[in-house]
Amino acid sequence: MKFDHPILLRIRAVVLTLVFLLILGLLTRPLEAPAWKRVQAGQPELNLVGMEGALGQGIIVGMLGGFRSIMADFLWLQTNVVWQDRERAKLDSMVRLVTSIDPRPVFFWINSARMIAYDVPHWRIQEEGGYQTVPEWRQAAIDREQAEQAFAHIRRALEFHPDNPRLYLEIGQIYLNRLDDPAKAAPWFLRASEQPGSPYFAARIYAELLRRQGKNAQAYDFLKGLFLRLPDDEPYAQKGIILERIRELERTLEITPAEAFNPSRNT
């Protein structure tokens, strides 16, 4: 029987092509696998559970197909529009969508936390009648609710960015600025100051918060240690201001000159 019928010839060609590509795939695996491992490490897993309804098919394919960053960017722009329109419920879902699609930019987490903690309480109070009408206890309750939501949001961010000082700072600032709770804010400023690349002011604010709580001795010890750790040639370290604070605390704690902190002796 002659094997030259056009259909059989085509089937043969297709099979041979697939076999060739299969072999090529196997041969290039030693090259591709380590490279893919490295590339994949930089692309966190997508967590789309519960999101499929919010996402269209096109968006899913687009994200999976290599447009993840740009999809998140465009959805963030949409989030800004939603924020401008003060659509609370939609803001909540948009924020979760953006950070689920691309949890890598800290920018998304921090800005969305700020929207939740700072802007939404203001909207809710306005919805309930305004600052003149809504009693203070109710305003405080709303602030606390929104702050807790923002904290939960930032805790999710810390799963992806455990070493980022800005996230710790954000929690501290919400406690301090929205909830007026220096006792709860202080530990977060401390943790922020302990992260790599932390801004110098984090430690200074921690010391100041200790002082506000009346923990002068603790503040004094902390500032002394801080002063010795900080580099001399870094203007942002503001060692002069730290030394001033140390001297103020020495006066408050009535520390004698003999016992006073001497930077040159203690280095």
């Binding site: 019928h5 056009p6 259909i7 085509r10």
Partner: protein, 299 residues
């Protein structure tokens, strides 16, 4: 069939089938073709549309593979790229890259054929001169007329000095003057020792140009040989007579019958329409050119 010491083209038992769809049916384009094209001759390939001329030419050029049989060019299999070093080809209704000038186009093909940089400029200039495209060579091919395209096409076919030149309908769509110019170029190429295989529907041109022809019909060779031998009425002779008195016709007829012959017909000898047209036009062209020269220089 004429056997040569080494044929330019030698085709043996060539058959070509084309598959039709995926049903397994085949269309036979050429069947059992045996043909030789001798060295340094102009060979015409004739036949109606669908007779297998283009298929045969493509097989000679290695662009198609035969289903059965073989073809060689100066002893080398036509399926090898090396065989094409000795071949130049002008396709039917040629189309070239419109954005290149005529010279750039010929240069491009010359370099593709392996013409070295040392002799490139000289080779390109000489073929452009041969085809009479000196004045238009700097212009883009997109601005060329049909006749100019054929001539630049001829230039690209011969720039690498091939021994065998294949021309597919070289004068199709070209006016008689242009066609005559191309015919002159073909004769010039023959005088330089080249072999030319040309395929054409214009039988009058073939007749005036080719040494031998082959006629294909439905993929089969039906006739082949020298034109004089093919078209001659073998059983008759013709005498062309001048100055015969009207009454002399009867005497001539009587003399012929006395020798055992039979006068078949008496008619006026004819020039071909091509030749008549060329005569008339060329006469007037020469007169016009003379008038222009006289006007510019009354002395």
């Amino acid at each position: 069939m004429v056997a040569m010491a080494e044929s330019a083209i030698s085709i043996r038992n060539l058959t070509k089938d084309f598959p039709v769809g995926i049903s397994g049916k085949k269309l036979r384009a050429v069947e059992g073709l045996n043909l030789d094209v001798g060295d340094n001759e102009i060979f015409g390939l004739l036949g109606p549309n669908g007779s297998g001329k283009s298929t045969t030419i493509k097989i000679v050029l290695g662009l198609l593979e035969p289903s059965v049989g073989a073809c060689t060019i100066y002893g080398k299999s036509s399926r090898t790229v090396a065989a094409r070093r000795s071949v130049g080809f002008l396709p039917e209704a040629p189309y070239f890259y419109r954005y290149l000038s005529g010279r750039e186009l010929v240069c491009y093909y010359a370099r593709l054929c392996g013409v070295g940089k040392a002799g490139l400029a000289h080779d390109v200039d000489s073929v452009i001169d041969l085809v009479g495209m000196n004045e238009a060579a700097h212009r883009r091919v997109g601005t060329y007329s049909k006749g100019m395209l054929q001539r630049i096409g001829l230039a690209q076919a011969i720039v690498h000095d091939p021994q065998l030149i294949i021309l597919d309908e070289p004068t199709a769509g070209v006016d008689p003057l242009g066609a005559a110019a191309i015919a002159d170029i073909i004769r010039e190429l023959k005088s330089r020792g080249k072999t030319i295989l040309l395929s054409s529907h214009l039988l009058a041109q073939i007749e005036g140009l080719c040494d031998r022809v082959a006629i294909l019909h439905r993929g089969k060779l039906v006739s082949e040989g020298r034109i004089d031998e093919l078209v001659a009425e073998k059983q008759a002779d013709s005498f062309v007579v001048e100055g015969l008195e009207p009454g002399g016709h009867a005497a001539v007829q009587k003399a012929i019958e006395a020798e055992g012959g039979r006068l078949v017909r008496v008619e006026k000898p004819r020039l071909s329409l091509d030749a008549f047209f060329l005569n008339e036009v060329q006469k007037r062209e020469s007169a016009h050119e003379a008038a222009v020269v006289e006007k510019e220089d009354p002395k």
